[in-house]
Symmetry: C2
Subunit: 224 residues, 2 copies
Amino acid sequence: MRLSIALFDGFTALDIVGGYEVLANVPGMEVEFVASARGIVAADTRRLGLVAYRSFAEVLDTDILYVPGGPGVVPALTDDELLVWLRTVHATTTWTVGICNGVALLAAAGTMKGRVVTTNWSWRERVASYGATVLPVRYHRDGKIVTSAGVSASIDAALSLAASIAGESVAATIRLGIEYYPDPPGGAGSADDAPGDAKALIKAFEETVAPARLAGVQPPFACR
Amino acid sequence: MRLSIALFDGFTALDIVGGYEVLANVPGMEVEFVASARGIVAADTRRLGLVAYRSFAEVLDTDILYVPGGPGVVPALTDDELLVWLRTVHATTTWTVGICNGVALLAAAGTMKGRVVTTNWSWRERVASYGATVLPVRYHRDGKIVTSAGVSASIDAALSLAASIAGESVAATIRLGIEYYPDPPGGAGSADDAPGDAKALIKAFEETVAPARLAGVQPPFACR
């Protein structure tokens, strides 16, 4: 089975690596990182670079299309080359996975109308504006479409998908392999329980700091 | 504050990105990826490449030294250049972070004798053999040394460290930013509760499949 992870400038690394670390360990999985061109793609922090070794033109179909989120989603929402690629490849998949506000990218590509999905807590209205029904849950499956809440929820969504693909026992073994028995400081809860001032800080970060960094900070490595 | 993340061939990506995604968002943090030479370093799957843009020779001190684990730890345990670098930089840090069996690397570098630490469930005896006391917990702090259990525990350990550095409120805001309200399929628990056959599968993977892949599978990108 082939897992194609889409990279675009300004992705959030944990959106990718949370799900990758689970799905890459499903027996028989072949993983590839795909971007508009081969080369290094910079994360939202401008300090982490991941390597794409297939271009969009080289990947016309796949088994699992995996779309992360991040501050780079905002400019990517008007990137026609990316949106056309997502739409084209999605039509060929067995599974399509949207993480965080990467769900908005899939929606902008026209793949989410009438679908039931989840997304990052701060992107629910935006994703709903594309005609999707958005649930305030950590992950959700609607047919072949698996979506997750923000960033770290990629781990939970991928474990659920691993169970769908290879069975509960394989998923439980992968869980042991990544020792995923979380014990977050602060205990259980959800984004909806977070204090209003923390939500306001994150919103302000997403609306001002993150875009300014994307536009203005040069990565310390050469990007394609 | 400066966060220096050590890369070596065959790291496990989530060991790095789990903690990076938390610590990079601590206000004022400067992140750098460091390896024996600048360039792309391949993860244990041989399918994910991360960019190092500082060499060991360029980094003589730091505030936070961050050491991930992975199948690459086994060959790295006899890599004198890496061990000397870890020992030298550790002597200058405010915090030293060991994730998963990366704790064994720090121990082999001579930094863990008499310390109380944790590590990946399958590496406890090995780490203890270097003179550390190993606790079966998700993360632990002993003085300036913060250690975590396997892979995904890097998130919990880093949130705890973020609270030590910048306060509980900042850590809680970062937690919201990465939407870390885990809901793993299978519910709560720990590696110690996992079925014996799952443990045997992971041990076999670590002892045979992962080393064979490291030695025999060429990454689809050029490494340094």
